[in-house]
């Protein structure tokens, strides 16, 4: 069978899916009596039209890069980690414990320690489902979903009963000391004399996220453990034949995956909130699934898909703010994007493959 050129597979297919999703969303917006053109304008200007919008878009993008990477690496081992939400929540706990434990003199010292705390807590939260899968055969999809709820309940308890400062009515941890606040991207821009993204939560974690993408790429395609992860994900019998231990790969992969999801807390807890609040991940763990799916589980694809979902997230917020389109509609649009780029991928891909086959026949 004639194969599609690679650019069509990687770029054209998701692009067409995306346009279809937007087209359907336009119909939905029409159906509730609003103008799709107006909605699109609000979304684009609100998220990409100003440095303020970009600041928020990049902030959300950073979250989605981490959770997207977490899902992507697990996927290479044939594991479906639905637990990014819980792992990110636990990462937030790790960050908070590290920062509130010591009087950090400067953020440069606090950051590596907080990253270690975030990664450790996220990884440990993934370790239990991984161990259950490797040793007891409990399916990781089920256990990671359940662990999301357990994480939410634990954080709920801790924030209400343990970590809440005396006298506060707010179920949240104490605010982090100013010395531990991460530089915002706006501060960096200002250092170069540019006024950009003032009063937005985008912070240097975005750069850490890009570095994480490179590290994951190295891990998957250049390291020995990555080679073994990919081999195990493609064929378990072959892995056994080669002497690759399935339980070792399952545990190692899930530790890395959980650590990546946990690292998201550097962005939203340390960089953005500067304290731990209830439901800090705000669903980013689940959006990570869509990001990985759309990004074809490749770090570069994850960056692009995270940017798209960052735009949708920020644009959707603006939609609710400036039009009478309800905020829930953005969930519909996100769902349509996920549906068309993920679940209905073949609906676009197969006619496209046929078209390319016909094209090459005509030429030949």
């Amino acid at each position: 069978m004639e194969r599609m050129p690679k650019w069509a597979d990687l770029i054209l297919t998701p692009l067409i899916s995306l346009l279809l999703a937007f087209g359907l969303s336009a119909l939905v917006i029409l159906a509730i009596g609003e103008s799709p053109a107006e909605a699109l304008k609000v979304m684009v200007t609100g998220s990409l039209g100003s440095s303020y919008g970009w600041g928020y878009t990049l902030y959300y993008t950073t979250n989605f890069i981490f959770t997207g990477l977490a899902v992507a690496i697990a996927y290479h081992a044939g594991l479906f980690n639905i637990g990014g939400e819980g792992q990110a929540a636990m990462g937030g706990l790790g960050v908070t414990l590290v920062i509130l434990a010591l009087p950090w003199p400067h953020w440069t010292l606090a950051l590596p320690a907080a990253m270690a705390g975030a990664a450790l807590f996220g990884a440990l939260w993934a370790l239990i489902p991984a161990w259950l899968q490797a040793r007891r055969g409990s399916h990781i999809v089920i256990t990671t979903i359940m662990f999301n709820f357990i994480a939410a309940a634990i954080l709920n308890y801790l924030l209400v009963n343990v970590m809440r400062p005396v006298g506060s009515m707010d179920p949240a941890s104490a605010s982090f000391p100013a010395a531990t606040h991460l530089p915002r991207l706006s501060d960096l821009a200002l250092a170069f004399g540019i006024t950009w993204g003032k009063n937005t939560p985008a912070n240097i974690t975005f750069l850490i996220a890009l570095a994480a993408c490179f590290a994951v790429w190295l891990l998957i395609w250049r390291s020995r453990i990555g080679y073994e992860i990919r081999a195990f994900g493609r064929s378990e019998p072959a892995a056994l034949y080669a002497g690759i231990s399935p339980s070792r790969i399952i545990v190692a992969t899930m530790l890395i995956s959980g650590a990546l999801a946990g690292l998201m807390a550097i962005n939203n807890v340390m960089g953005g909130g500067e304290r731990l609040i209830l439901n800090a991940p705000e669903g980013a763990g689940f959006i990570g699934i869509a990001v990985a799916l759309m990004g074809r589980n490749h770090p570069l694809g994850v960056i692009l898909a995270a940017l798209l979902f960052g735009f949708l997230y920020q644009g959707g917020g603006q939609l609710a703010l400036w039009t009478s389109i309800p905020r829930e509609l953005i969930v519909v649009i996100q769902a349509l994007v996920i549906l068309l780029t993920g679940a209905l991928d073949n609906m676009v891909r197969m006619p496209l493959e046929r078209a390319f086959a016909a094209l090459s026949r005509n030429r030949g």
């Binding site: 080679y227 990919r230 081999a231 493609r234 019998p237 034949y241 080669a242 002497g243 690759i244």
Partner: protein
């Protein structure tokens, strides 16, 4: 086709003419002719992958043949789907039952054959019909029991009842005894005889010779996607059938000097293995292989060869219980708690029987595959990373030495032909110069040119003073390559022969579990083996 039809029925129940079917580049059926007279039990026998199940799937409308003609009762028919097969009077009992486990027997029987929207009349009619069938054919099943509460044997009866309820005249059973106890199998055979005596036509797909001899009227043998012979069962023997199944003609001639066996390399003593379901797969294997010799293991697939290779390769199936002793170069080799990596380090190379599932990662490139299993060797590692450049260079060299085509290390394994895929695996294992090479089905699905090449490499390894354990279901391959031949049957070594002092008939008898050298034929057939009902699911 000499004695196939005792009486020349003007309209045989089934007649196939020149049926061919290919899946991609794999030819599953080639020009199959088959005549099944009405009111007979017809056995179709052949190795796994010989094409039996494909042929029956064509008959049941799952696949369309690429060429050929199907005649039912003398009338040419096309069978585009299973509904048409049912209308043509064909019923199928699959190896893996198609029953709804939380439905009752009655509900399963009418499923898909309801009379109308209301269930009650259908159920009442089915109940009367089941009572009639039960009385007529000994097909006793309580119609109101849930499937999940039934034994496997009873579930199979429900499958037969389903077919009969749909007025099947022709019943196809795919490996029906694979899941049955000996008593259940006996009962099934009584039922089948009863059905035949009522004028039904039965096709029995199996790879068990004893069943063929016990119950069929005629038997057809498939081998490598062709129908190679048809016989009246009364005029053939298990030895002849075994020989036909694995191929009799010595097509292959490998030029090799006489072996000069040296010191023992591998010793296997009293090796026993019971799998997770409690079936004993290996019942005390004793083997010795010396440096500079090829020991060939012959036998019909499913008699323990796969388990033997997996244990020696360091990865017995999970949950298996093992006992016995392994010795490599005078050192004890751990039976359990080892893995493929440790075995490679100990000097054992392994070309697995199933290269596509085990030997290669089909999506990986040729260069990634050329180091598979050796990827933590010092020359390929740079700390935590892989030395991709070294792996690519190594793969390019192997591709050149083994003439892999196309010679492109960047292509994924799935883009190579079967022969070239196998060359990649053999190159990987042989170029490491192992003390012992385990090699399973080295030329299955491999073209003639590559067969010759691979055979030469195996002999060259032997001449370099290495030990080779060759497992193959191709008798001509075993005869051409081996310095000694051990025949496996039902988890035992039935006997050992030298290739120049045996015949294919002699080996065929051993493969069927009969030792011609033994005076007491029963002695070679212990009661446990009389019903080899535990051979692994052989889908073919």
């Amino acid at each position: 086709m000499s004695g196939a039809a005792q009486q020349e029925d003007p309209a045989p129940a089934i007649e196939l003419r020149g049926i061919s079917k290919a899946f991609g580049t794999v030819q599953a059926n080639r020009g199959i002719d088959l005549t099944v007279p009405r009111g007979t039990i017809h056995g179709i026998i052949g190795e796994n992958g010989a094409g039996k199940s494909t042929l029956m799937s064509i008959l049941y409308g799952f696949y369309r043949p690429d060429a050929g003609q199907i005649l039912i009762g003398g009338q040419p028919v096309t069978i585009p789907d299973s509904q048409s097969a049912i209308r043509a009077g064909i019923g199928m009992v699959f190896q893996h039952f198609k029953l709804v486990r939380n439905f009752t027997v009655l509900e399963n029987v009418i499923l898909g054959a309801e009379d109308g929207a209301r269930l009650r009349p259908s159920l009442a009619r089915a109940r009367r019909e089941l009572q009639r069938l039960a009385a007529e054919y000994e097909l006793l099943v309580d119609p109101d029991t849930l499937i999940e509460d039934l034994s496997v044997g009873h579930q199979q009866r429900v499958e037969i009842l389903k077919a009969l309820y749909r007025q099947a005249d022709i019943l196809i059973l795919d490996e029906p005894t694979g899941v049955l106890t000996p008593a259940e199998a006996d009962h099934l055979f009584r039922i089948l005889r009863g059905l035949r005596d009522e004028g039904k036509t039965i096709i029995l797909i199996t790879h068990k010779l004893r069943e063929i001899m016990e119950i069929t009227d005629n038997v057809s043998v498939m081998r490598r996607s062709r129908m190679v012979a048809s016989r009246a069962t009364a005029e053939t023997s298990t030895a002849e059938l075994a020989e036909l199944m694995v191929g009799r003609k010595v097509l292959l001639r490998v030029d090799k000097a006489p072996a000069r066996p040296g010191a023992p390399v591998l010793g296997v003593r009293g090796l026993r293995m019971t799998d997770a379901t409690g079936v004993e797969r290996l019942r005390g294997i004793d083997l010795e292989i010396r440096a500079g010799e090829i020991l060939g293991i012959a036998g019909v697939a499913g008699n323990g060869q796969t388990q033997l290779l997996e244990i020696l390769g360091g990865y017995p199936e999970p949950g298996a219980r093992l006992s016995g002793e392994l010795v490599l170069n005078g050192q004890a080799l751990p039976l359990t708690g080892s893995d493929g990596r440790a075995r490679r380090r100990a000097g054992i190379g392994h070309v697995p029987e199933d290269r596509q599932a085990e030997g290669l990662i089909m999506d990986f490139t040729a260069w990634e595959n050329a180091a598979f299993g050796y990827h933590d060797a010092p020359e390929f590692r740079r700390g935590w990373f892989l030395d991709n450049a070294a792996m690519r260079a190594d793969a390019a060299a192997k591709i050149e030495h083994f003439d892999v085509r196309p010679p492109d290390p960047e292509l994924p394994a799935k883009s190579f032909s079967g022969g070239n895929q196998q060359k990649i695996v053999v190159a990987r294992e042989v170029e490491r110069n192992p003390d012992l090479l385990l090699i399973g089905q080295p030329t299955r699905g491999v073209d003639i040119g590559a067969i010759e090449f691979i055979h030469k490499r195996i002999v060259a390894l032997r001449d370099a003073g290495k030990a080779v354990l060759l497992v193959s279901v191709e008798l001509d391959e075993i005869m051409a390559l081996s310095d000694r031949i051990a025949v496996m049957f039902d988890g035992r070594i039935m006997g050992e022969r030298r290739p120049d002092q045996t015949t294919s008939g002699d080996l065929g008898s051993l493969m069927a579990g009969v030792d011609p050298a033994s005076t007491d034929p029963q002695g070679a057939m212990p009661p446990a083996a009389a019903h080899p009902g535990h051979a692994p699911g052989a889908g073919a």
